[in-house]
């Protein structure tokens, strides 16, 4: 994987950019989400989460299993407002 490899496709972030954030001291996934916006796009981290955990493990020497993932919340995939109300008023 080169430094220019995209790690988060939704927010357009490269591995190098994430490494720089980690070097600045952002070592918590929740914090990286807020600062760098990794995992904040349409897929909500489904693609980048594991890669990010690997990067954090490499940088901090932690076991990947000890790195807290972000919380999983609904909706699990993008869902439009119309689908949620699904005919409850007009039909």
């Amino acid at each position: 994987m080169s430094d220019k490899t995209i790690i988060c496709r939704c927010e357009d972030l490269t591995v190098q950019e994430i490494q720089e954030w980690i070097e600045q001291g952002y070592e918590d996934i929740e914090e990286l989400k807020r600062a760098a916006r990794i995992g904040m796009g349409a897929c909500q981290g489904r693609t980048c989460r594991r890669h990010l955990i690997n990067e954090l493990a490499r940088a901090t020497g932690k076991n990947p299993a000890d790195i807290e993932p972000p919380t999983f919340r609904p909706p699990t995939k993008p869902l439009n407002f119309g689908a949620v109300t699904g005919g409850s008023s007009d039909d």
């Binding site: 919340r73 609904p74 439009n80 407002f81 119309g82």
Partner: protein, 381 residues
Amino acid sequence: MIKTADVVVIGAGSIGCSTAYNLARLGFNKIAVLEKGYICRGSTGRCAAGIRQQWGTEMNCLISRYSIKQFEVMNEMLEYESDVEFRQNGYLMVTYSDKEADMLKENLKLHKKLGIPVQFLSVDDIKEIVPDINAERIVASTICMEDGQANPFKVTDAYYRAAKRLGVEFYTYTEVTGFKTEGERIKAVITDRGEIATSLVVNATGPYAKFISQMLGHDLPVEPERHQIVVTEPLEPFLGPLVMNFHHNTYCQQVVNGSILTGYGNPEEPKGLNYNCSWQFIEELAEKIIDQLPVMKNVNIIRHWSGHYGISPDGQPVLGTVPGLEGYYLALGCGKGFMLSPMIGELIAQCVAGKETTLPIDILNVERFEKGELIVEPAVV
């Protein structure tokens, strides 16, 4: 961790960081900020990012008016290398009933008096500003084009970095567990990572404030009120101002990256800290939003989160000293902490330094609840 400090600020949200920055500017040398999570973990990082002056009480209007002046120059003021993303795209306040319309008219008189540029809008005006709005049920509406939004993470980061450059020490993942006192005086703050001797403490913990106060035997009537918010996929700019609807109790705005951010808090819900997200909320929100902006029917929700207002009995900030506890200060925005953070930081720092405050804050002292002198804010959503 340092052993002694001139001032300890508890909480590293927008108010805590702004207070620390302002204290450093006033010449305090040893300032420690304690945060139980990471910077911006609590209410600031979960808020809806709106900034408005259209309030119903003079103090809320004034503090927000002065704060907006600072947001306007914040990148330069804090020498911030990034951008706090302050945008003045306005706040559109919408009402569906005569009673709510009367409130807007009352507020308008106050805004005129204070020189806040708020306009009453006809239905045609509204349609022109937000073409996608469903204006059928709108009775009255006002707009202030100086209102807007900023990025809460960036604003807090800007204050954090500026404070650090001035020598402020930040301790994250450090939880306050108690205090040492002598009579009415504070002697030290106890944390899970050690103790800091200090005689001055600022409580800037938003919805956690009452739990910190409890450690000092102080009964603070500020309760955590859960709000939930969803954010959508990014869209081309179409919304214009933030739309605040008093009938639906909702706020809805398009942020800089194009996403729509919308949510509300259910006032019926029991007060307390609760970071869960409920499905019922999404269903109810969808009805409320499609009624206001039918085009939202086809827009995808991508994320949902919850956070809290630390809400006071009258919906106004709680600022300043606490009777019977020397050296203890409250810096609580009570549901509008983020948007008021520039001024609350300045006012509290002045108060701690024993200087005259830019705005009179005595009226916002916590004593008012015991005395029954509430100043009820009518324009809360």
